[in-house]
């Protein structure tokens, strides 16, 4: 494994160079709300102790709203015009392991059948510089979903603070290697063994549940009344899905651009919305919130695993921190685990 060293000062120069080379640098904002583009390396604000922002950087690879194509209705027919795909080169700087993994996870659903150009173009143009995570709170559970604060899975490069002003940077992917190549003068050679020692000292969150246990329990307990407890207080907003780094459902709507012309939009959607499964006929197969909540848990811990061998969750805890009524997915998974253990 290739590893380099860089000082904080040089990291800033690195950022400066990247901006000059027309990369878009995207970082956690200072308010802790979302990820932001920065225009100046002075704004480089990274730390392993940052609390995860309320929203993940998902919106940069999977837009909250984007046009698929435009249409112009003329008297003699309809003209279709393709939407321009942005070729912006993006660098997600200082991503926590739980965020870094998200592109890989979503990539599976966007490529298993139809290749989603909108996602792929952005994903291909993205570099994820992950970073070791030293933030912990009661909502974090990355270790339960086979990740960890030191996981470089999903990162192209992975930053490890060695002291206040120095970092080790691990080259994780070939894409990362190519990306860093022009800037190598800013880096010194590093020793992976030293950083491995750092990793060992990192205090890992306790594993709360076995995802495999959850998966099999859900498969056998579809009608279990346990789901009702969350379902009856869930208000059916889309907060959990929208802040989730890996929820990827979208809705297609048309909207007017002007007189007799318009565009087809791809917008975030959430399985907790009652309209999500509402049929044109008025029938709604998931007609109550319990069913919708079960869908959320099942999709994350069973269906996605069954189909893509990947848990649709990175344990970041965002949905639980933000839930208006305090539904805590980590806690629920733990409870399900104990239900399974007790064979209830």
């Amino acid at each position: 494994m290739d590893e380099k060293l860089i000082t904080l000062n040089n990291l800033k120069i690195f950022a400066e160079e990247l901006l000059k080379a027309n990369y878009t640098l995207i970082l956690q904002d200072k308010q802790g709300i979302r990820w932001e583009k920065i225009s100046n390396s002075d704004e480089l604000h990274i730390s392993s102790k940052l609390k995860p922002t309320k929203a993940s950087f998902k919106e940069f690879v999977f837009s909250k709203t984007e046009p698929i194509f435009y249409f112009n209705n003329k008297n003699d027919g309809v003209e279709l015009i393709d939407s321009n795909l942005s070729a912006e080169k993006m660098v997600f700087f200082g991503s926590k392991p739980c965020d870094a993994k998200s592109i890989n996870i979503m990539s599976k659903v966007f490529n298993w059948d139809y290749k989603d150009n909108f996602f792929n173009t952005k994903a291909e143009n993205s570099i994820v510089i992950g970073m070791l995570c030293e933030y912990r709170d009661e909502f974090c559970f990355c270790t339960s979903v086979n990740l960890s604060p030191v996981s470089s899975d999903g990162s192209d490069l992975f930053l490890i603070p060695t002291d206040e002003n120095n970092f080790a940077i691990r080259i994780v992917t070939e894409k990362g290697r190519e990306f860093i190549q022009p800037f190598l003068k800013l880096f010194a050679e590093g020793n992976p063994e030293t950083t491995d020692q750092i990793f060992k000292k990192i205090n890992l969150p306790e594993k709360g549940f076995e995802s495999e246990v959850i998966r099999s329990w859900i498969g056998n307990n579809f009608e279990h009344k346990y789901f009702e407890r969350a379902g009856e207080i869930c208000l059916g907003c889309g907060q959990c899905a929208f802040v989730c780094p890996v929820c990827h459902c979208f809705d297609i709507v048309d909207e007017e651009c002007g007189y007799s012309c318009g565009r087809r939009m791809k917008n975030w959607d959430a399985c907790q919305f009652s309209l999500f499964t509402l049929h044109g006929s008025g029938h709604n197969p998931r007609h109550n919130q319990t069913q919708r909540y079960r869908q959320r848990i099942s999709h994350k811990f069973k269906y996605y695993v069954d189909k893509f061998d990947e848990i649709l969750c990175t344990g970041c805890g965002r949905c639980s921190r933000g839930c208006p009524v305090g539904i805590d997915i980590g806690q629920i998974a733990k409870e399900v685990h104990s239900l399974a253990a007790n064979k209830v």
Binding site: Q31, K64, T65, E138, F242, V253, R321, P324, G326
Partner: protein, 288 residues
């Protein structure tokens, strides 16, 4: 706490109510959650303390709970305002709700959804309903609490002082953030429409796409639809994942309602609603 649990048990056991919407402690966290108590064991889990920020009135209009018996609800004074408004708007029958009114000493401010710092919540500053205006049972006592200054009013005044373009810029920056998760709507006890106008597609007055234009219309129209109705529980702002200062809109509309019509929402069952009534003397100096 015991008083609340005893009352709840009594109501459930003698079938006065079929269920009680209340709060329970979370698992190990410093938070409380909405909790539906259906039996005596459940009643023992009910709690009430300064962490009970949620406005539970939002659950009263849920189809799963409505009908066939009386619903009990643990309600602070501000929550009762929402209940009064819901009764006035024919959403709940006043004979089908049993209000366990809580004398309230203020809820804490939920900073970033974990109570890292416990300051008094904005909605509790200058509260006039620490004892609810309407209840069937009243529990607890009020005591003097220290109230910080009303910074919300100041923030509104600051925006008002800006010129029109700067006001626009301020709000554009706020609305741009909106991701249309509708947490504000779903948590609002008064957003009970069967179909929200933003979900209506023919015609689509408000674009559901989360771009600034659609967000602008959405937030403006929501504030308008709530004007004269919002009781100021601040839940929408609390749950907004993008920290949009929605209270600055809703409070502003309340200030207008008070100034123009001497009207406050949710105060009494007898007062007419603001929209739906008129006065020959309503102001019209802005009409040419």
């Amino acid at each position: 706490m015991n008083e609340l649990r005893e009352k709840a048990k009594e109501l459930l056991l003698n079938n006065t109510v079929k269920l009680i919407i209340g709060y329970a402690n979370g698992n190990g966290h410093n938070r409380t959650y909405p909790f539906i108590a259906r039996n005596a064991a459940d009643a023992n889990r009910l709690v009430f303390n300064e962490y009970c920020v949620n406005n539970l009135a939002v659950y009263l209009t849920r189809k799963e709970f409505k009908g066939k018996g009386i619903i009990g609800i643990v309600a602070k004074g501000c929550d009762v305002k929402a209940i009064i408004q819901l009764i006035q708007e024919n959403q709940i029958n006043k004979d089908e709700v049993y209000i366990i009114g809580m004398n309230c000493n203020g809820a804490v401010n939920q900073l970033d959804n974990s109570f890292e710092k416990t300051t008094l919540a904005q909605k509790c500053i200058n509260c006039t309903v620490r004892t609810p205006a309407l209840y069937h049972a009243l529990i607890g006592t009020t005591k003097d609490i220290e109230e910080p200054a009303d910074t919300l009013g100041e923030k509104i005044k600051e925006v008002e002082k800006l010129n029109a373009d700067s006001r626009w810029d301020f709000w554009e920056a706020q609305f741009e953030k909106c991701i249309k998760c509708y947490a504000c709507r779903q948590v609002c006890p008064l957003c009970y429409c069967e179909q929200c106008i933003v979900d209506k597609t023919v015609p689509r007055w408000i674009e559901s796409s989360a771009h600034t234009r659609g967000n602008f219309s959405w937030n403006i129209i929501r504030a308008f639809h709530l004007s004269g109705r919002c009781i100021g529980c601040g839940e929408c702002e609390r749950v907004c994942p993008m920290d949009i200062p929605l209270s600055m809109l809703n409070r502003k509309m309340s200030i207008i309602a008070k100034k123009e019509f001497d009207y406050s929402a949710g105060v009494s069952l007898d007062s007419p609603t603001l929209v739906g009534t008129y006065n020959m003397k309503d102001r019209q100096d802005f009409i040419k």
